[in-house]
Subunit: 246 residues, 2 copies
DNA sequence: GAGTGGTCTAGACCACCCC
DNA sequence: GGGTGGTCTAGACCACTCA
């Protein structure tokens, strides 16, 4: 029993993808489509709104909507989970925990995870692979209340996000990502198989539940050529996408 | 004569920023606020939708909306214009054209700018500075129809985006950004004042008008420590933010 | 000036959360 | 079970685009 506006959005997405509405073309008007689908204009606008926030279509008052792009942006589901993202692109995700230990939160960590300094956290160093090739090195800090669930996972667990949901009911629904470039350190170089000092894309992120409670904060370093982050944005909305490098 | 939903959104934004609604707290219900502002629920939901897409608040069916963050995300206006972004952070933007020449579009360029191969384009190499320090090197390709307006600009023009709008009426309203890390080449190293091979954040972007007509495509390389890109995202929306490194 | 999207209203029902 | 957000309707007026 999916929502009507979702069905319509999906239909339009397909029509754009298969070339019925090529890039640059004008879409039918709201009233036309509302009539055709047998819904009110409001519902149709909701469907259009979804496509707009995905960067597929644009709009200006007074003129018909136009197609901006044919490739839909990633869902947040794919963004937050490395494994789900990899599988969506038909690549085999892998994971390996290299180190894992509990410790007291440093001041910086406590601030980021909204804990009191000295509270327990779980530090995990994890190597992620794509089709067996090292892709990135994660240095993740989990809040103490999530530590037990993470430690219970197997070392080679593919999808931590999904496992955390299944075993502990933790839903990660918001994230903040900071992207910049750094030189590979000794550990980075050894695990990722690159030379020390070579460029890495660094993504520092914090993920929180829907209530805004931080679950984890992480420093992820991507091997060049393995992953590119894509952001499609507009005056109206700006989604983030992680894309495999060509 | 601003829109009612914009006024309400602005009011809520302020109330969140000044601590009236701290992070993690619950906001009043839609009906309450609608009544208080003398608008219908629909209008109020529109205001909430804006704040949601800015990453300020989150929502779950059945529960009240909660405050996720106090700092509003950047507007696209600030994202697309380096100068506007810099000034918003109280830093002095600078620009200097190092090279500029017309050429026939390569196949790749033509594809990205939706031109026919061989059509004329304008290549510009531009150094951008923050408070006099080199921050990034831009290799920009402008579509031929925008070339004349760009060439007419002074070499040290601060804001190309704004000037293009003022002189040619070109409004850039959509962009696609790809982020990864690369090693500094000879030119990069010389102009940015770093060693060859040192890590740079690369942002490849294409900007289009509201009709989806590409205006420019660019390869921007940021000196480490000068700029960090931030993306705040959620199940509902994911805006991109460019942040000065600390 | 006809058509289009942007805004707004006043209702309604449902799914879900929490008490 | 009462309150909340999510969905949907059927109207209305306005600002804007374009022929």
């Amino acid at each position: 029993m999916t929502r009507r506006h979702q069905q319509i959005a999906e239909e339009l997405r397909r029509a754009i993808a298969d070339g019925t509405h090529p890039v640059g073309s004008e879409l039918p008007s709201e009233s036309e489509l509302a009539l055709a689908h047998g819904v009110s204009r409001g519902t149709l606008r909701q469907a259009f709104g979804t496509l707009q926030s995905e960067g597929l279509i644009g709009s200006r008052q007074g003129a018909r909507r136009t197609v901006l792009s044919t490739t839909p942006s990633q869902s947040f589901t794919e963004l937050r989970s490395f494994a789900q993202w990899a599988r969506a692109g038909d690549r085999a995700p892998g994971g390996l925990v290299l180190r894992s230990h509990r410790a007291k939160a440093t001041e910086a960590q406590a601030a980021q995870l909204q804990l009191v300094p000295g509270e327990m956290v779980l530090n995990v160093l994890r190597l992620r692979t794509l089709d067996g090739e090292p892709a990135l090195l994660e240095r993740t800090v989990y809040a103490g209340w999530a530590a037990a669930a993470v430690e219970a996972l197997p070392d080679d667990c593919e999808s931590v996000t999904q496992s955390l949901y299944e075993t502990a009911g933790v839903v990660m629904s918001h994230g903040e990502h900071h992207l910049d470039a750094v030189a590979a350190g000794t550990t980075d170089a050894r695990e990722l198989g690159v030379r020390r000092g070579s460029p890495l894309l660094r993504v520092r992120r914090t993920t929180t539940t829907s209530e805004g409670r931080p679950v984890e904060t992480s420093d992820d370093r991507y091997r060049p050529g393995s992953v590119v982050f894509t952001v499609r944005n507009s005056v109206q909305a700006n989604p983030l996408v992680r894309t495999a490098a060509d």
